[in-house]
Amino acid sequence: MSSLDAFADAYLAWAVKASLGILSVSFLIIVYRIVRGPSLPDRVVALDMLVAVGIGFIAAVGLLTGYYLYIDIAITLGLVGFLATVAFARFILNRGVAGDATIMDEVKDSIRRREAGQ
């Protein structure tokens, strides 16, 4: 039995390290999309995803340290991320309807891309 326990502990240590690595890679990939754009909604979607990856990080660190208070932090981060996304969506809607110059440029860009067949 003790050999199985030892294997389980080694497996968990490996799993936490592997998932932290995978999450770091996805973090970098998402940052690429945030920098690249091309439009404001794209960036907001990527930021929303960044919060999900952050929650994953918190869960993995909680497993690593055995400190379960991290769950509360994860829930709070999820709440803040949701509110931020809602606020950004309102912003895009209001500025888009009001005809903000930057957003109109991006809209024209998206129409041009659609007509160019991309």
Binding site: L20, P41, I55, G56, F88, M104, S110
Partner: protein, 114 residues
Amino acid sequence: MSAVVTILAGTMLVIGALFALVASIGIVRLKDVYMRTHAASKAGTLGSGLMLIALAVYAADLAVATRALAGVIFFLLTAPISAHLLAKAAYEAGYRPCADTKEDAMAEVFPQKD
């Protein structure tokens, strides 16, 4: 028993991380904002939810499990709402979908303005 629980938690953690990775690949590879929202709202929610459940399984404590479950239900409820709000805001602001989009039933409700 505890060894089985530990192995289960580790496996769920890795699977959740893989779903998060797939969602971020989707955000980079898919073509327009509406398709990217698909990737973020589905695979992303499942990924972070699975990882929280893994923590709850490993803790094997009712107080922790209840909080983790509440968190997962909260994510499941909010992810569709934020995806829906973003897609609606983007469409009403005038962002057009990519050229592969043949069907566009919303075009008559929000005609293209320019």
